[in-house]
């Protein structure tokens, strides 16, 4: 009897249980029409979007480096509320601060390399004459150049510690590949930019003749940009100076020494009631920034009058990465290194003319870097011209480092200065943690 009852009631349970089991064994895939899987990227038509993706990766670092390097150098002064504001203002930058910069530059180079591998698989031989390939190698080379300029030491592919010059070597290899493919593809703009990148990398190597040779391939009016858009990928410097008031020009050389130069335009959004120094409640809106961006008249620190940069006046303003005017300054510096002040002056005046600035007379002496800049000799002029021409482009830190600029001995900004200020970024802690090849090296211990 009991067995019959078990059998009768158990049948229902068994059917239900089997049903549940069948349900649990059914389709358990994550469903989402929006996500792109690896196997989706195998058709020829999709190769341009891979190249665009590599560009997007590179664009992430263009404004990021420009913003942080501006705060570490004297391009702009931190006037904000970010925790890093005061620290960077004192020239302090440790191996935790450098994580994002290191990772993103490596990823930019890696993304271009990964895209190149896929292009070869999909396009096969055509990849060698595809303009997108030339662009990939340009992006890769420029990413390496940025690593070399800004990091004190280098590591590639989880390998051992290398001198930063290794990055310049890598840059030159990639940029030459860009030139080769670009010429085959008729992509002249990429070829020109690659020549400019080679010139920059050779400056890093101290190879002035090669730098000049490459720079000569770049016309003065040429500019290659990291590209931004007001919605897709906005310019971070604009966001922090127009959208917020995290950085400003007050008390920077651009405001105190080189005021009025067309290469460092700015607007005074808030005026000090007492120009001698910061004090709460003593900044009056000028009204000149009302209705523009945040319209802030004082820094996000609530204290400092906001002197807003106008080099990037739009959220979509692009950041120059290679420019013909920089090439002329490379030629000028090479001449200076060779003691040719006439050529130096001519090249500088070529740049100044391009920007509508008055020409300078040939300086009497080579002189030395000074801080504050006395503008009285060739080195000071070079310092000024590179400062102004490459202003907020993320290039100043390397100049300070290779010149061992006296600014590094404290700077002038408000508050205490740590001595010396950093002139290059350390290998980040995350690389030390995850790369056994360098865990016991001097940069990690």
């Amino acid at each position: 009897m009991i067995m019959k009852r078990i059998a009768r009631a158990g049948r229902g349970a068994l059917v239900t249980f089997i049903g549940v089991f069948a349900l649990t064994a059914c389709e358990l895939e994550v469903l989402n029409p929006g996500r792109i899987l690896d196997e989706d990227l195998t058709t020829r038509d999709l190769m341009p979007i891979l190249v665009s993706g590599a560009s997007a990766e590179f664009n992430h670092i263009g404004d990021f480096y420009a913003f942080d390097i501006a705060r570490l150098t004297d391009d702009l002064a931190g006037t904000g509320s970010y925790f890093s504001t005061g620290q960077y203002r004192r020239g302090v930058f440790d191996n935790e601060n450098s994580e994002g910069h290191w990772e993103q530059a490596h990823e930019a180079a890696w993304a271009a390399g990964s895209a190149w591998e896929r292009l070869q698989e999909v396009l096969e031989g055509e990849a060698n004459s595809f303009d997108g390939s030339a662009r990939l190698f340009l992006l890769m080379g420029l990413a390496h150049r940025m690593l070399g300029e800004n990091f004190c030491d280098l590591v590639y592919d989880k390998g051992p510690l290398q001198p930063r010059t290794a990055a310049f070597d890598s840059a030159i290899v990639a940029l030459n590949q860009s030139i080769t493919i670009g010429n085959a593809a008729g992509a002249s703009a990429f070829v020109t930019a690659a020549h400019g990148g080679i010139a920059q990398a050779n400056v890093g190597l101290g190879n002035w003749s090669a730098a000049v040779q490459a720079a000569a391939q770049v016309p003065t009016d040429f500019v290659h940009y990291a590209i931004y858009h007001q919605t897709a990928n906005s310019n971070g410097v604009w966001n922090e100076s127009w959208g917020r008031a995290e950085v400003g020009l007050w008390a920077t050389p651009a405001q105190t020494v080189f005021d009025g130069d067309p290469r460092a335009p700015y607007t005074i959004c808030g005026a000090w009631d007492d120009p001698s120094g910061p004090s709460w409640g003593e900044v009056t809106p000028t009204g000149d920034c009302t209705g523009q961006g945040s319209g802030a008249h004082q820094g996000a620190d609530g204290l400092t009058a906001h002197y807003r940069q106008n080099k990037y006046p739009e959220q979509g303003s692009d950041v120059p990465i290679v420019s013909g005017t920089e090439m002329r300054l490379i030629e000028a510096e090479a001449a200076l290194v060779g003691g040719d002040l006439a050529t130096f002056t001519a090249k500088v005046n070529e740049v100044r003319a391009f920007y509508g600035a008055d020409p300078i007379d040939q300086p009497a002496s080579v002189g030395a870097m000074e801080f504050p800049n006395a503008q009285d000799d060739a080195m000071s002029i070079l310092d000024r011209e590179r400062y102004l021409t490459l202003w907020i482009e993320g290039r100043r830190l390397f100049d300070l480092d290779r010149w061992q600029h006296p600014f590094l001995q404290g700077g002038t900004l408000i508050g205490p200065g740590a001595e010396p200020r950093v002139s290059c970024m350390p290998v980040p802690e995350i690389e030390c943690t995850l790369n056994p090849e360098i865990q016991n090296s001097s940069v990690c211990t």
């Binding site: 009852r5 078990i6 009631a9 158990g10 349970a13 239900t16 249980f17 549940v20 649990t24 064994a25 059914c26 358990l28 994550v30 469903l31 989402n32 929006g34 996500r35 792109i36 899987l37 989706d40 979007i49 891979l50 665009s52 993706g53 997007a56 664009n59 925790f83 290191w102 990772e103 993103q104 490596h106 990823e107 390399g113 990964s114 590639y156 592919d157 989880k158 858009h229 919605t231 897709a232 990928n233 008031a245 004090s279 709460w280 409640g281 809106p285 009302t290 523009q292 961006g293 945040s294 319209g295 008249h297 620190d301 609530g302 979509g316 408000i414 508050g415 205490p416 995350i430 690389e431």
Partner: protein
């Protein structure tokens, strides 16, 4: 005389019928004469409230009845004679009474039952397969019943859980009405996958992640707060993997199951209540001697008080409301109406609520309405079908706040160092921030017991929640002058299918066997549309598409979880119960190479007090229990796959970038837990104790680990590499020091500890600053001053461990005093200890020289009056370095502004008076009450409130950053039953 056959036959037949009728009638009469009825009522012994739905049974028979909706019952056909009548009700102790049923007559048995948290015969269903008596369960399980809610000052769901029992931490992160509370059960055990518990309502799983967004107000609403507290009948809480095994993947953070009220046979019984209340914000910030304006919040215009920013007399903040304060006395009104009743085969409970709660800053506030219909059918013996449905809507108006440059507190507290033009902070309130929430939950529960051996339970349900969030800065707004609009729409559809079957068998009289099996399917569909637009032409059509820069993002993700289980419970003499079970899970987010996850469990429960050898007569209940089990947390959608994201590059050309490298072996993190404890009651239930110790280990914890960045991508890949340990104790003591006919005083004390340690992060030493190997999970790691007492020196810093972000100890104190069965005074206090919290407002205000506390104004005045380098000024001042670090902006640091956030709060205090019968015409009963929430806080924390948090309820790194403190709330309540 001759009798004709047919006639004779007919007469015989007629005689037979007549005799049969007489015989039958006579037997029936005799039978009726041998039975009787039992009738009576079931009431709460303390409040005298009727206990509708209480099970009244005649012991040793199959006779029984549920008390109707006014607590009355009638059992017929009870054999005459002596009987034991028993009353069982969830949350109450069982009561038995001897009655003598007269033949043909009625016996009366009126019951007064008392709440009993550890009643061993009480039935629980959460974490068990089917239902089980508490004596059979080897894990701890907490219950909160409707009466607890009735006496609590409740404004949202989180209030119901605060301070009442052990192992539950509920924090109010904000004073903004509509901001969800954060709930943790036994702390945190997941490094990356969230630690919110699962919440079920009548067997249907709710969305447990934040609903919608509110980045401008820095708070997030929750689906839980859509539940009308007045609809809750009881809640069961199981807190760790030892108890949640049968819920499988996703249940490692514990499970809270809510049971709503249901119908009871009887004529319609109505309950109506009216609540009127007020929120009041006490003085904010440092003491009134140095901060009379309450950081310009309590008083923003008064010519006669100290302005702590200027040091002069007179506060007159531009934009200050006419009342001279940013705060108002905010009005609350809530109306509830419910009815329940039904017949033998169908019952119903229908309720509705309308509420309108103002926030203390205009125009903040929320209104809501909800309706519920719970219908039960009993079409056949052993078959019960319940259909539970609810719909709720909530409209929340936020104010911009928190870490938000156009937030109210950020600008008001910073005085003239804020961002608003002309310091007119009222401008930020032109930012319109609104959340509309809709939630529809419906579930079908079928319980079928075809015979005494088999029972089946099936739940099918859906939780559909939608959020419509609007953040609008119109054309002409002081910031982004041409306007800015964001609209986020989120739809969450959660489907639950749950079946379990149980086969009961007693092979021997002393041995029982319950074999259970079943499965569960859970599907979560998340659909989001995020729209943005800017640069509107001007007043007029300022909606998405009306501006110059429209953008839209769409997301649709469906994840599925399917699992099945088997469990066997063996009982010996109804005293010792041994349980073994296993759950297997498949999950759509597991890697292709992983397969099924398996979660085992074993338990033992031993009511040793039922043994003859148990020596302590004063202990009527003494149950030992132990449980070990596992449950898990699944990785997120697509974590196992290599994926790319579509993006725009350059001048908005399409592009793809790497999103995730994928890990085909990815599986769930698995938390195992061993808990053991004792449930005991003494002195006729006047003293009861629950003690539990637990020890959890989460292995294969999911952490994002990247390759060394020099290898290429910075993308981290989720891997099963971590390990976290989590342990603690929970002690609950209930004492009834006074129990007389006129006075009943219950005191409850609960004390919980919780600690944790990250024991493995694979190749990593930390996951950011809040998770580090060798330290507890979720910590504050920041700069610590190394030379606090050095005179005239600049502060020197070194990064280090400052403290836990979650409490290591919680204490709850409950006291309920009932006088003359009519007047009840209920107080709930809760303390949390052992955690720290960064005071963002102090740190940022010090940097701007607008912090009135800690002697900073004088120190700052001294420093800024000097000239020279910072170091020389500090040397001249001759103060300890800690003073400089605390008060001088360029040398200050958030580390020194991180305080112990220990506190004790009176969470709720209420006085309720049951009005004399008849005083309200037509009402069966009526009561009035006054309740208060957050009436008192004891803390040394120097910020606005030790619970204020900038990051909403799902966040694990709480910090205070210009967030509104929870205000004091007073509620007047009138409740009528008719």
């Amino acid at each position: 005389m001759r009798l004709h056959g047919p006639n004779r036959a007919g007469r015989l037949a007629a005689l037979g019928v007549a005799l049969s009728f007489v015989f039958a009638f006579g037997l029936a009469e005799r039978a009726a004469a041998q039975t009787g009825t039992i009738t009576g009522s079931v009431q709460d012994a303390v409040s005298q409230a009727p206990i509708a739905g209480a099970q009244v049974s005649v012991v040793g028979t199959s006779l029984g009845q549920l008390a109707n909706n006014v607590g009355r019952y009638l059992i017929i056909n009870v054999p005459a004679g002596q009987h034991t009548v028993r009353v069982d009700m969830i949350g109450y102790g069982s009561v038995e009474m001897e009655v003598n049923v007269p033949a043909g007559g009625a016996a009366t048995a009126d019951f007064n039952v008392r709440q009993d948290a550890i009643a061993l015969e009480g039935v629980v269903v959460t974490g068990t397969a089917g239902q089980a008596r508490r004596r059979e369960v080897g894990n701890s399980i907490s219950q909160i019943v409707a009466e607890d809610i009735q006496y609590t000052a409740v404004t949202d769901f989180g209030d119901v859980l605060q301070g009442r029992t052990t192992g539950i931490q509920v924090n109010d992160h904000s004073g903004q009405v509509g901001a969800a509370s954060q709930i943790r059960l036994r702390g945190n055990n997941s490094l990356t996958q969230g630690n919110n518990p699962l919440i079920y309502v009548d067997g249907v799983r709710l969305e447990s992640n934040p609903i919608g967004s509110d980045d401008e107000g820095a708070q997030t609403p929750s689906a839980f707060d859509m539940i009308n507290p007045a609809d809750i009948d009881r809640m069961e809480v199981i807190k760790g993997p030892a108890a949640t095994t049968l819920y499988g993947t996703e249940a490692a953070g514990g499970v809270i199951q809510i049971f709503t009220k249901r119908g009871v046979a009887g004529a319609p019984a109505w309950t109506a209540s009216i609540e009127q209340g007020m929120s009041v914000m006490p003085h904010q910030g440092p003491g009134a001697d140095v901060n009379p304006s309450g950081l310009f919040l309590n008083t923003c215009r008064d010519p006669g008080i100290l302005n702590h920013q200027t040091g002069q007399t007179g506060v007159d903040e531009p934009g200050c409301p006419e009342r001279g304060s940013w705060f108002r006395n905010a009005h609350h009104q809530v109306y509830n109406l419910s009815v329940r009743g039904g017949g033998e085969t169908a019952t119903y409970f229908v309720s509705g609520q309308y509420g309108d709660r103002q926030g203390v800053v205009e125009p903040q506030g929320a209104d809501n309405y909800s309706v519920r219909a719970n219908i039960s059918f009993q079409p056949a013996d052993g078959l019960n079908i319940q259909l539970n449905s609810s719909y709720g809507r909530r409209n929340i108006t936020w104010i911009p706040n928190g870490n938000n440059a156009s937030g109210l507190y950020l600008n008001v507290l910073r005085g003239t160092a804020g961002y608003t033009p002309g310091n007119d902070d009222s401008l930020v309130l032109e930012n319109e921030i609104i959340t509309h929430l809709d939630q529809y939950v419906t579930g079908l529960a079928v319980n079928w017991a075809p015979n005494s051996m088999f029972s089946h339970r099936m739940n099918v349900g859906i939780d559909y929640t939608s959020s419509d969030f609007i953040d609008f800065k119109g054309w002409g707004f002081y910031e982004r002058h041409t306007g800015d609009r964001e609209v986020d729409q989120q739809f969450d559809r959660n489907l639950t299918f749950d079946y379990s079957g149980t086969f009961n068998y007693s092979p021997l009289e002393a041995i029982t066997s319950n074999l259970s099996f079943g499965g569960q399917v859970y599907e979560e569909f998340n659909y989001t549309i995020n729209g943005f637009d800017r640069e509107f032409a001007g007043p007029g059509e300022q909606i998405l598409g009306g501006g110059n820069l429209p953008q839209v993002f769409e997301g649709r993700i469906t994840t599925r979880n399917g699992g099945f289980f088997v469990q066997e419970v063996v009982g010996l003499n109804d005293k010792l119960f041994l349980t073994a079970g296993m759950r297997w899970d498949g999950f759509s987010t597991f890697g292709e190479g992983f397969g099924l996850a398996a979660y085992p469990k074993v338990q033992a429960a031993y009511t040793i007090s039922d043994e003859d050898f148990f020596p302590f007569d004063f202990a009527e209940t003494f149950k030992l229990r132990a449980a070990w089990g596992e449950s898990g947390k699944a990785p997120g959608a697509f974590a196992a796959k290599r994926t790319y994201s579509a993006t725009s590059a350059d001048e908005q050309v399409p592009a793809v970038i790497i999103s995730n490298l994928g890990n085909s072996d990815l599986g769930p993190e698995v938390s195992s837990e061993f808990e053991y404890g004792v449930d005991a009651s003494f002195l006729n239930g006047r003293v009861s104790v629950e003690f539990t110790a637990y020890d959890q280990t989460t292995r294969d914890a999911l952490i994002g680990v990247q390759e060394a960045p020099s290898g290429g991508t910075e993308q981290a890949t989720l891997r099963n590499l971590g390990e976290v340990k989590n342990w603690g104790t929970e002690t609950l003591l209930n004492v009834v020091p006074i129990r007389t006919d006129d006075i009943e005083w219950d005191i409850g004390i609960n004390y919980s500890t919780n600690d944790s340690e990250i024991t493995d992060l694979g190749p990593l030493e930390d996951l950011g600053t809040s998770r580090t190997v060798g330290l507890p999970l979720w910590i504050r790691w920041d700069d610590i001053i190394q030379n606090p007492n050095e005179i005239g020196a600049l502060p020197q810093w070194e990064k280090g461990y400052i403290g836990n972000l979650f409490p290591t100890e919680t204490v709850g104190l409950n006291s309920r005093l009932t006088l003359w069965r009519t007047l009840t005074i209920d107080v709930v206090g809760e303390g949390q200890y052992g955690m720290v919290r960064p005071i963002g407002i102090a740190y940022q205000n010090v940097r701007r020289r607008v912090w009135p506390g800690d002697g900073c104004p004088a120190i700052q005045e001294q420093y800024y009056s000097l000239r020279g380098s910072g170091a020389s000024r500090v040397a001249t001042m001759g103060l300890p370095a800690a003073d400089i670090a605390r008060c001088i902006g360029p040398y200050s640091d958030q580390g020194i502004w991180t305080d112990p956030a220990d506190f004790f709060k009176i969470r709720s205090a209420s006085v309720t008076y049951r009005l004399p019968d008849g005083i309200v015409p037509g009402a069966r009963s009526a009561q009035i009450g006054i309740a208060g929430k957050n009436l008192l806080t004891w803390t040394d924390y120097r910020g606005l409130d030790p619970e204020a948090n900038d990051n909403g309820f799902g966040d694990s790194t709480p910090n205070e950053y210009y967030n509104m403190a929870p205000p004091r709330i007073f509620i007047l309540n009138l409740s009528l039953n008719f």
